[in-house]
């Protein structure tokens, strides 16, 4: 992969920026190892992306079992295509695009018709329940009735302990599929907003609404666990 190539590609300025310097070097090194048949590099690649792939696949197919099959099939596509990868996007984006194409290629009853069609309800869900704020007409309407907790005063292990991580994991698992896919890509895998939009083919606004709802629910779940 060369700088010139990435300049002529379709990736957004943000992604181009992220692909610069050290990241490009690291990725071309990884790519060279994969092409040379380095099994440990491939194993690490699978371990890095497999969980995200399942989360994304679940937005396109009906069951987790089918999503796992789709991820498996997509990996075979990655193996076949690795010599043809041109570095026009990050390796991760390329892998996730293969996954989405594999999922969408599943016809019939396994596929969902329009995975990201219904943002209607999500627009109306408040991040925090309305009764946590002073009601309209009251003095200081819209300001906190009851403050959220001060997590900075909690001991480190309360927030980062296994039990709390399990609560977060469970809350993410319970999210609607599209919200789960977006929060998994952004907060677990560390994708940029642009990368999510490109992979899932959604608008920047939809990406942000889905992420906002997802994070708000995970925060609320953690709040019940930590403050309750």
């Amino acid at each position: 992969m060369s700088q010139v190539e990435s300049q002529t590609s379709k990736v957004s300025p943000v992604e181009e920026d992220q692909l610069s310097g050290a990241v490009v070097a690291e990725e071309s090194d990884l790519l060279a190892r994969l092409r040379a048949g380095d099994e440990r590099a491939f194993e690490a690649l699978v371990e890095t992306h497999h969980g995200t792939m399942i989360a994304v696949a679940r937005t396109y197919v009906r069951t987790r079992a089918v999503a796992e099959e789709v991820a498996q099939e997509a990996w075979l596509g990655v193996v076949k295509g690795i010599d043809r990868f041109e570095g026009r996007s990050s390796l991760r984006t390329w892998i996730l695009r293969i996954l989405v194409n594999t999922a969408m290629g599943r016809g019939g009853r396994e596929a969902r018709s329009v995975p990201f069609s219904s943002l209607g309800n999500e627009q109306d869900e408040p991040a925090v329940e309305a009764d946590r704020f002073r009601p309209p007409g009251a003095a200081f309407a819209g300001h906190w009735n009851a403050y959220p907790g001060d997590w900075s005063s909690l001991p480190e292990e309360a927030l980062l302990g296994r039990e709390t991580l399990d609560v977060a994991k469970q809350r993410i698992e319970e999210l609607p599929d599209a919200q789960r896919a977006v929060i998994t890509m952004r907060d677990i895998a560390g994708c940029s907003a642009d990368e999510v939009c490109e992979v899932l083919d959604i608008s920047a606004v939809n990406q942000r609404v889905l992420l906002h709802r997802a994070r708000s629910k995970v925060r609320a779940g953690l709040e019940r666990h930590l403050d309750g």
Partner: protein, 83 residues
């Protein structure tokens, strides 16, 4: 949103947090939000909770892939070079 131009309420602020953290608010909106947080302990804590929620997500990156998934992929990877 029915907010007067010189301040936002806590209830409005919690809906802008994701845009704020992504740097997607306008300069004016960012100023209003930061001004509010400077004077409101509840929203300061809320913003901190959201940052810590994101940090929790960072720690959920699973690295264990079951053998029954990994082994067939490694086999395919190995065979790729021979085909």
């Amino acid at each position: 949103m029915a907010s007067s131009p010189d301040h936002i309420t806590c209830q409005e602020l919690v809906e802008q947090v994701t845009e704020y953290l992504d740097g997607a608010l306008s300069v004016e909106e960012t100023e209003l939000l930061e001004q509010h947080v400077n004077f409101c302990e509840g929203c300061d804590w809320y913003l901190d909770e959201m940052r810590r929620t994101i940090a929790t997500g960072n720690r959920l990156r699973e690295v264990h892939v079951p053998d029954k998934v990994l082994q067939p992929l490694l086999t395919a990877f190995r065979e790729r070079r021979q085909s």
